[in-house]
């Protein structure tokens, strides 16, 4: 019992360190079975004056840094202006394959398929704000803001 408690306590400490590591960030692989890392750092988008008819494209590479293949999923969530999230169009693609294309507001969880150990996929995000058809419909959007979180989930084992 004593030995078992010590082992458990050590494991908890190690896991906590890994999870809170400033470099590893939100990459966590308690025993190496699933581990995702990204290219770059920080948010993909920081658009401060997006115009009607305007847009921006960003990309990020996600690598399976674990030792086993994983099944990948992608999802997004938003905070802020619901009307803007509804009007914003986002297209997420991997190469020529489109993962999602439509309003940001309706982007939910999407299955991405298998990602081999050590493999990487580059995701291209295209955000655009099309006109609603008239200045009177576009005008109310001015100054509105939405913040999105993009999440990749790997399932292995």
């Amino acid at each position: 019992m004593t030995r078992s408690r010590l082992s458990s306590a050590a494991a908890v400490t190690a896991a906590a360190l890994v999870a809170a590591h400033p470099v590893l960030g939100n990459v966590f692989e308690p025993h190496g079975s699933a581990r995702l890392v990204r290219s770059g750092s920080g948010p993909l988008f920081d658009l401060r004056a997006l115009a009607i008819g305007g847009g921006a494209t960003r990309s990020v590479a996600i690598r399976n840094a674990g030792r086993w293949p994983v099944l990948m999923r992608f999802s997004a969530s938003t905070l802020g202006s619901a009307s803007l999230a509804t009007r914003l169009r986002i297209r997420v693609s991997i190469g020529r394959k489109t993962v999602y294309s439509g309003p940001l507001a309706t982007l939910r969880s999407r299955a991405l398929g298998r990602l081999s150990a050590g493999a990487r996929s580059t995701y291209v995000f295209r955000v655009s704000l099309p006109t609603a058809g008239s200045p009177a419909l576009d005008n109310p959007l001015q100054g509105t803001r939405v913040t999105a979180r993009f999440t990749w989930s790997a399932v292995g084992g």
């Binding site: 082992s7 458990s8 494991a11 908890v12 400490t13 190690a14 896991a15 906590a16 890994v18 999870a19 809170a20 939100n26 966590f28 692989e29 308690p30 025993h31 079975s33 699933a34 581990r35 995702l36 890392v37 990204r38 920080g42 948010p43 993909l44 988008f45 920081d46 658009l47 401060r48 004056a49 997006l50 115009a51 009607i52 305007g54 990020v60 996600i62 674990g66 994983v70 803007l84 955000v127 704000l129 006109t131 200045p135 576009d138 005008n139 001015q142 100054g143 803001r145 939405v146 913040t147 999105a148 979180r149 993009f150 999440t151 990749w152 989930s153 790997a154 399932v155 292995g156 084992g157």
Partner: protein, 468 residues
């Protein structure tokens, strides 16, 4: 052998990670790892990225309340009650806060009481401002639309159709005051007040009329706004001088500034009436007739009392049934007779014509009238018949039939001229004219009949052989 230990460790590690805010989860069947990219912020462009808006110094008329309040996203414009169309300078200021030159535009909608909005820097509704530059905005209220108005003033970014801010604007605009006010005395001490219409054409309810007696204060004398451009004051007193001014009133009650003034003295006294009226150029028996010869140029003599003045006007009216004709002439100062001539009575039917005369003053007060009558007869009698009665050794005779009571005249034209010989037809029209004594000659007479009105018939020419 190792699997249970690993499972325990992973479970504990995952719990620890969750406790530390991490994103990795694990089930007993599978390992999972989540990677999130947070804080992807997208903000839509806005007018505030280009312009700063600051309320100006313009205040609502008669108050110290600023017209504009708020800022670029919240500006509101309240002009209060504006008594007359005017331009408000420095209603608010627009400053280019971007790093590049920008064009700002202004547009009014839904509020006709505001005629225009313009940048002081350009004098138009568009101004190009370099980075950091600013311009005040001036606004002019309408001279044609009155009443309460509520609409928007749009501040837009040049080159963009959708980047703009709409600012609520309210104003109660009074109509413009009427101009060219006149006051004119009317008969029976009434005073007619006239004016040129207000330039305001929308939401104009009418005009309030104000009156001052002598040097006294003005008081409104109309119960409700008067439509049109005149008003008759029937409450004036003869001999009293009144001064009038007006205000135009908008729907909702906003009143204009006062118009200019006009004064008039009430006059309710009519001149004394004519003392006599007679037909001056009558024809026929007693010179009492209007006949074929004088109907297009009737003359009437009117006698006026000594109170008559030169500014009075004599009016003579001839009427017969529904038709009438009139003519005027200046009255003689100090009284006496005046002849009103060349009155064309051709349009009046034959019968009894009533001749009336009045005298009126410059205000239009009309005296009592004096009347007389004259028969009108413009129908000439038919040509008489004529027969010769050869009487031995005494005067011969011409007999015949003509219009009853007509006067007959016969003139001998051959073998020599003699006459005239006259007679009067009896009530049956029969007549006998005694003519010259002739013997053994062929004689020619021309016979005409003239009625009482003086109308002469066509001539009857008859040639007879006198044998005894």
């Amino acid at each position: 052998m190792r699997r249970p230990r690993v499972t325990v460790i992973v479970v504990l590690a995952s719990l620890a990670a969750l406790a530390c805010g991490g994103a990795t989860r694990m089930s007993s069947a599978a390992f999972t790892s989540n990677l999130s990219v947070n804080g992807n912020a997208i903000t839509v462009d806005a007018v505030s990225n280009y312009f700063q808006v600051m309320p100006g110094t313009a205040v609502q008329p008669g108050t110290s309340t600023p017209i504009a309040t708020g800022s670029v996203n919240t500006l509101s414009l309240a002009f209060g009650t504006v008594p007359s169309a005017q331009t408000f300078t420095n209603v608010f200021t627009v400053k280019n806060v971007s790093a590049q030159t920008q064009t700002a535009t202004l547009g009014l909608s839904g509020v006709g009481q505001l005629a225009s909005a313009a940048f002081a820097s350009s004098g138009t509704a568009s101004a190009t401002l370099v980075s950091g530059a600013s311009s005040t905005v001036q606004m002019t209220t309408s001279s044609t639309v009155a009443g309460l108005g509520s609409g928007t003033l749009r501040l837009g970014l040049g080159g963009s159709t959708w980047l703009y801010r709409d600012y609520g604007a309210t104003v109660t605009e009074a109509p413009e005051a009427p101009t060219s006010v006149t006051a004119t005395s009317q008969p029976a001490a009434a005073i007619h007040v006239g004016w040129a219409a207000s330039s305001t054409t929308v939401n104009l309810s009418g005009y309030d009329v104000y009156r001052a007696t002598g040097a006294g204060p003005f008081a409104k004398i109309t119960v409700s706004p008067v439509s049109g451009t005149s008003y008759t004051d029937a409450t004036a007193t003869d001999g009293t001088t009144y001064t009038y001014k007006l205000r135009a009133v908008a729907t909702g009650g906003a009143a204009s500034v006062y118009s200019g003034t006009a004064a008039a003295t009430a006059d309710g006294i009519a001149p004394s009436g004519p003392t006599a009226v007679t037909l001056a150029n009558g024809g026929g028996q007693g010179s009492a007739y209007i006949n074929l010869a004088n109907e297009s140029g009737v003359s009437v003599s009117v006698t006026l009392p000594a109170s008559s003045v030169a500014s009075d006007t004599v009016r003579v009216t001839l009427s017969n049934g529904a038709a009438s004709v009139s003519k005027t002439a200046p009255a003689p100062a100090g009284g006496g007779s005046v002849t009103v001539s060349a009155i064309n009575a051709s349009s009046l039917a034959d019968g009894t014509v009533t001749i009336s005369a009045t005298s009126s003053d410059t205000v239009g007060n009309v005296s009592t009238n004096r009347t007389t009558t004259a028969p009108k007869d413009t129908v000439a009698p038919g040509a008489p018949t004529a027969s010769y009665v050869d009487v031995k050794n005494v005067a011969d005779e011409i007999t015949g039939v003509a219009e009853a009571n007509a006067s007959l005249v016969a003139n001998q034209t051959a073998p020599s001229a003699s006459g005239p010989y006259s007679a009067t037809a009896d009530a049956a029209g029969s007549f006998t004219i005694t003519v010259a004594v002739l013997k053994h000659l062929t004689v020619t007479y021309v016979v005409t009949a003239t009625d009482a009105a003086g109308n002469a018939s066509a001539a009857t020419t008859a040639t007879f052989a006198d044998v005894q």
